[in-house]
């Protein structure tokens, strides 16, 4: 396997799907010659032309709504939403329109569209360009939600998303665009199915269940635990909807201890849902309280002195993991 960046992996996935299926097109703000502010899409307009890589005006509700209409009528749009924070602008189109077409029509209509956007703080982008809003859309039945954690995941999940007949929101971690990792050769097409979590490490003492950027935190925390003589299961959730409950529960039933990590706000977030299912369905296997690590319940601050501490990190994860394993968690 070669090593490429997350950004290249996304670019390849889109290019391959555009080549494969002429009904696929992509639009968004500054996606063509500019290739997005993150340069993820550079080179695509040169190959596929402005008919398929389409620069839109700065009108998020408009072009998301139009993508719904286009998806209803025989095409498979990929929409680039420049920042995850802009989801708030498109809520009606995404949650009232895209998510409900199949259901409201009794299964007669479908909306095969992909909304690519991003998440992640610590880029010093402050409160309106740093949010991780996956829980917001995962809450709405009818939408699927994918969270790639590596270049390989980014490519495999995005290709699956394009081929899915439902609206899929895929969150890329904007800090990860330059991260490198192994990705299969283009001729070895890899589609990563939705609803199958990925166990990255196997251990006995604790389960670390994580999404997107937090998978890396979990992996490093598992390293830290190894140094202390403990081992952890590390599970990449991959898709919040559909959620692979079985893999998570099997791991927790084995270890009896779990930390759930996700970069969205802690309250009412993805970690809460996963923790709740664990408490509900693996209760008698739990040997320690279920711990959740999400972002602090504050708007993301600008100053580096303030921002970094608001997202889960390796040190705190290890510290808490050791407390759980050693039975040192203060009782309520």
């Amino acid at each position: 396997m070669r090593t490429i960046t997350f950004s290249q992996a996304v670019n390849e996935a889109i290019a391959e799907e555009l080549r494969r299926d002429p009904t696929v097109f992509l639009w968004g703000e500054d996606v063509a010659e500019a290739g997005t502010p993150f340069k993820v899409l550079s080179g695509l307009v040169e190959e596929f032309g402005p008919e398929r890589i389409i620069d839109t005006p700065i009108s998020e509700p408009g072009f998301v709504g139009m993508a719904v209409g286009a998806a209803l009528t025989g095409t498979r749009p990929i929409v680039d939403l420049m920042f995850g924070d802009f989801l708030f602008l498109v809520m009606d189109q995404l949650c009232n329109q895209a998510a409900k077409q199949s259901y409201m029509s009794g299964g007669k209509l479908k909306v095969p569209m992909v909304l690519r956007t991003n998440l992640g703080a610590t880029r010093r982008s402050a409160a309106q360009h740093s949010q991780s809003l996956q829980a917001l859309v995962a809450h709405i039945p009818g939408l699927k939600v994918a969270l790639p954690s590596s270049p390989r995941e980014a490519k495999g999940l995005l290709k699956s998303a394009v081929r899915d007949d439902n609206p899929v929101v895929i969150f890329e971690d904007k800090l990860m665009y330059q991260a490198k990792g192994p990705v299969p050769e283009p001729e070895e097409e890899e589609l990563i199915p939705f609803g199958q979590a990925n166990r990255l490490q196997e251990g006995e003492d604790l389960s670390l269940v994580a999404t997107s950027s937090m998978v890396q935190v979990a992996e490093e925390a598992a390293e830290g635990l190894r140094a202390e003589g403990y081992s952890a299961d590390v599970i990449d959730v991959r898709t919040l909807v559909p959620l692979d409950e079985d893999t998570i529960l099997a791991s927790v039933r084995k270890t009896g201890r779990v930390i759930v990590l996700d970069e969205g706000h802690q309250s009412y977030g993805a970690t809460a849902e996963i923790a709740s299912r664990i408490a509900d369905k693996a209760f008698y296997h739990l040997d320690a309280p279920v711990t959740r690590f999400g972002a602090w319940d504050v708007p993301v601050p600008f100053s580096p002195a303030l921002e970094d501490q608001t997202v889960p990190d390796v040190a705190r994860t290890v510290e808490r993991a050791l407390q759980l394993i050693r039975g040192e968690v203060a009782r309520a």
Binding site: G256, F283, Y284, H285, L286, D287, A288, G327, R331
Partner: protein
């Protein structure tokens, strides 16, 4: 329960010298406690009235456990005795204005109205008379009557019939985790069988009763019903239980009447298995669904006993008890789950 020795986990209450309602003063003997060494008289350390005795004479009580409650007044003691379910602390009149909700006339306060709301006080162990240097290592219970333990620790303890309070006393802290219970279990299995009887396992499950009740209605007679029960339970045992040499024997018995023994009942049509004359059952099934029993405890009579308890609402209770060495926890759980599933949907196995 006071700690009376260095390595003492528990004491047996040999006798009570007081009963609920009695007045006690510091120095009054309230009970006799038997340890492995001797019988000792335990004195009260508080002035007041005995509200409740929480254990009967003969009970073995972990060190640190509350054995009786003392309150300030005779009225409170009477109230505690009257409303057993209401607890004691909350029953004391005092801070609450009784008329505030109902708007009725104020209820005349009892003579002792001036007394403030009184918390029940624990009878604490006397200061150790002999070696004063060894304070009890036992923490006071955080919540009276409850041992804080992880769900997993509780599950393991329940499966092996282990007493969490005893484990808490041994390890000297809360909450307990799985490893604490596992350590106690290891100790148990290497130690000679304690006086309380052989280590045994007891699991309880509940399942929807509808499917089984429907089948019973369809089968009609008691014989067919016993045979069907043997088939369903036998099916679960064969699939999940220990390997059997020769035929699988299941005995089905009601609370009254003769037991019926079946060989390989799971290989007959539901309700059609024929009883055999004699043999040792691998498993006894006690069908108590027509009785007023709600819970069963105590050692199994055979190697493994499965109790069917009456349906409460839509739910049927099952209790599986087995002697040590017959089944392990996981195996017993699998059997119990298999039985529960079959009772829920008796035709499932035919599909």
């Amino acid at each position: 329960m006071p700690a009376l020795g260095m390595a003492q986990d528990s004491g047996v209450i040999a006798a009570w010298r007081v009963e609920a309602g009695d007045r006690v003063a510091p120095g009054d003997v309230v009970m006799e406690v038997e340890t492995d060494k001797s019988v000792q008289e335990i004195e009260a350390r508080e002035d007041g009235y005995i509200a409740r005795l929480l254990f009967e004479a003969g009970a073995e009580v972990p060190v640190g456990e509350v054995v009786a409650e003392v309150v300030a007044t005779a009225e409170e003691a009477a109230a505690a005795a009257a409303g057993a379910g209401e607890g004691t602390a909350g029953a004391a009149p005092g801070g609450e204005d009784a008329s505030s909700d109902s708007g009725s006339e104020p209820i005349p306060a009892p003579a002792a109205e001036a007394a403030p709301a009184t918390e029940p006080r624990e009878i604490l162990p006397p200061e150790p008379a002999s070696p004063p240097a060894a304070p009890p290592s036992t923490p006071p219970a955080s919540f009276p009557g409850r041992v804080l333990a992880s769900p997993k620790a509780k599950a393991i303890a329940a499966a092996h019939g282990l007493d969490l309070a005893g484990i808490r006393a041994a390890v000297g802290r809360e909450p307990l985790h799985a490893r604490d219970v596992e350590a106690a279990l290891a100790e148990h299995s290497t130690a000679p069988a304690p006086a309380t009887g052989p280590t045994r396992l007891s699991l309880r499950a509940v399942t929807e009763a509808g499917g089984w009740q429907e089948l019973c209605a369809r089968l009609g007679g008691l014989s067919a019903r016993r045979a069907a029960l043997a088939s369903l339970v036998g099916g679960a045992w064969r699939r999940e239980g220990p390997d059997t040499t020769g035929a699988l024997r299941v005995e089905v018995v009601g609370l009254h009447g003769e037991p019926r023994l079946f060989a390989d009942p799971d290989r007959s049509r539901l309700g059609a298995a024929e009883p055999i004359a004699e043999g040792t059952p691998d498993l006894r099934v006690i069908d108590a669904t027509g009785s007023s029993l709600r819970e069963v405890e105590g050692p199994p009579e055979g190697g493994a006993d499965l109790w069917l308890l009456p349906a409460e609402g839509e739910v049927l209770s099952l209790v599986l008890q087995a002697r040590s060495g017959i089944l392990n926890t996981a195996g017993a759980a699998a059997i119990l789950d298999g039985v529960a599933r079959r009772l829920r949907n008796p035709l499932y196995q035919l599909l």
